[in-house]
């Protein structure tokens, strides 16, 4: 009855078994389909978000300036109104307050995010600089106090102030000997191409692909108890690992189509590079998640241990990417490489060859984990 079974046939049978197992596993379906669908829809929905009061940085302005200088305008008030004019674009609300004491109280309470104080002499200093015979120009300061605990609001306030200062200088002709920046951001989000998605996709999609595949594959060896019996047949350990990798690559490919399908069809996300290249790039990123998960599964002795290793590995990737301010360390992080790779292809639209370095990096790390998983599994006892 026994025939010379080729390794290829065994691998294909094992791939089919894996895929059937995934289809019959409710948890796997949730991770592979429901989770990415929900996250992708939430990601896309951010384009249509309605800003609430909570989204705005609140900036209190205290005007102490009663000095004279300009015969026609109150310059401190004009500066205040320039801030008000720029506030909305910077997601800020600018309003006057009568006293610094009240403003500091509100800042400590977390009710406002910044205090801008226009000191006495603001107008007279600026006016004195109009005199062409003035020996040295006198700078006019505004004192800004920011909530140091909130990076997002700091960015909004600084943006609002920078734009207000530029407008104010141009408006009142304080531009002698000045170099003003005229900035244009390229490759960033544009409304037609899916406004926020060009920023969020390179971070969220790799997280979703790597996390989703890792959580499943980290259980795929340690949780596949009957595999021990299968290994008493002519099937080998390397065939089992190869089959599992192929099966999860197939599911990842479907997952990628699902995510990109929602982004493109529902939210008008238009990757700058070719679709095929983006899919290939995402598949390589998923491959990293798959082999890291398999490696975890191979070195674990129980399902619980595999879960713990998964959480440790995933958090490490995330923390290094988001919180380690050392570029060399971050650059070696596969999650960072994945982000770079997607930016290169989907946002910058670089040709695949030019976008290769981070992709090759991910492939190298993935192959290292794949070979390690094979080596560890080959010496591991799998007694029935």
């Amino acid at each position: 009855m026994v025939r010379a079974a080729g390794s290829f046939m065994r691998i294909m049978s094992l791939v089919r078994k894996e895929l059937e197992g995934i289809v019959k596993d409710r948890m796997a379906l949730i991770v592979l389909i429901l989770l990415p669908t929900l996250i992708t829809f939430s990601l896309g929905a951010t384009q249509f978000r309605v800003l609430t009061l909570a989204d705005y940085a609140k900036v209190a302005v205290i005007d102490h300036d009663t000095s004279e200088g300009d015969p026609h305008y109150d310059l401190s008030q004009a500066f205040f109104w320039d801030m008000v004019a720029n506030a909305n674009d910077s997601t800020c609300i600018v309003f006057p307050l009568p006293s610094e004491e009240l403003a500091y109280y509100l800042l400590w309470q977390g009710d406002i995010d910044a205090i801008v104080v226009i000191p006495f002499g603001f107008e007279s200093h600026l006016a004195s600089n109009r005199d062409p015979n003035a020996p040295v120009p006198v700078p006019a300061y505004v004192n800004v106090t920011l909530d140091g605990t909130d990076l997002e609001s700091q960015g909004k306030v600084i943006d609002c102030l920078t734009n207000a200062i530029a407008d104010f200088k141009v408006e009142f002709n304080f531009t002698r000997d000045e170099v003003l920046p005229a900035m244009t951001a390229v490759m960033g989000p544009t409304e037609e191409q899916g406004f926020d998605l060009r920023v969020t996709v390179p971070l969220i999609i790799p997280l979703l692909l790597i996390g989703g595949t890792m959580i499943l594959t980290s259980q795929c060896i340690v949780g596949d108890v009957p595999l021990r019996r299968l290994l008493l047949t002519p099937a080998s350990k390397s065939e089992a690992i190869i089959a599992k990798t192929i099966a999860y690559l197939v599911t990842s490919l479907l997952q990628i189509q699902l995510i990109l399908g929602i982004l493109i069809l529902v939210y008008n996300y238009q990757p700058a590079g070719p679709y095929f290249q983006l899919v290939l790039c995402l598949l390589i990123i998923a491959f990293f998640g798959i082999v890291l998960g398999i490696f975890i599964s191979v070195v674990s002795n129980s399902r619980l241990q595999a879960n713990q290793y998964f959480i440790f590995a995933f958090l490490s990737l995330l923390v290094i990417e988001l919180a380690v301010p050392v570029a060399d360390v971050r650059n070696a992080n596969p999650l960072h490489m994945a982000r770079e790779a997607i930016v290169n292809i989907a946002s910058r639209g670089l040709p695949f060859y030019d976008a290769m370095p981070p992709i090759l990096g991910i492939l190298a790390v993935s192959l290292a984990f794949f070979v390690s998983a094979l080596a560890v599994f080959s010496v591991k006892k799998t007694l029935v």
Binding site: M1, V2, R3, A4, A5, G6, M9, R10, S13, K17, E20, G21, K24, D25, V225, P226, R228, R229, L230, L232, T233, P234, A235, K381, L383, V384
Partner: protein
Amino acid sequence: MGKERDIELERVYVNIGKKVILEDVSFYAEKGEVLAIIGGSGAGKTTCLRVLTGQIPPSKGKVQVAGVDVLRDRESLKNALGYVPQLEEVGLYYEFSAIRNAVLFGRMYGIPKKDAERKAKEILTILGFKSEELMRKPVGKLSGGERKRVSICVGLIHEPRVLLLDEPTTGLDAHLRIDVLNYLRDINKKYKVTIGIVSHDLETAEFCDRVVVLDRGRVMIFGNPREFVERVPAGYAFIASFGKLGERDLSRIERIRFVTRVLQVGRGTVKVFVKRIEEPLNLLVEELERIGLTPSSIVSSDITFTDYFRLSALEREEETYF
């Protein structure tokens, strides 16, 4: 020259660290026989199984399965051997049906899907699966006895020369245990497969052609169970129940002139072995009544390998005591 030996351990030692797990273990089963490897916890029976399946190399000695040296030719061993683990969750995919499990394992041996499916149906039918609907039900929804039989089917799918089973009757009700052992006998007859059954249950030996009993890593008994039964010094056996029975009552029964031995088999129940005499049942009842022990029931019984084992253990105890 005897028949070809399909299972053979010859002077096998297994040491793990300084601990001796198997010591000078030798036994065999000839082609087409059913061998029971019996022992209590720590006797070394599971180690024997792992040595036979090539999972543990022996420290010393020779191990052959289906004429294959298990250490030298792992690939031939895999093809010649079918294995049924003790726990079904270790050996079966619960989300798949019986047929799907069998086909999956069959594919590993290169058996085409259709052939594997046909073979699986044939084996499952012998194993008592009456309908194809049952064969296509997910294993997780089958009963314990049905799962056990699916596991046996998976072990047989590639028509191995030798089938090894680890505790196939553990966790089953008494009638299911006997069912499983009878099914194995049917399989043995139909496919001429040599079967090795590891068990802690002496009852298993009744169904086997050969039995080896292990104790603390050594062979205690090895041979044909029927030959051992013939060594019991009795012509007949009866199981008698009494309302109440003390230690002294057992001695009184044993002193009846034609009674050879008495074994307690339950509370107030004894198995009485008598010499080969005429009308043994009537005589035994009369004698019991004479000594004031009227049985509430008394039935004729077979003399079994379990009886031999218990009686010889009793004799060893007495020899040590005196």
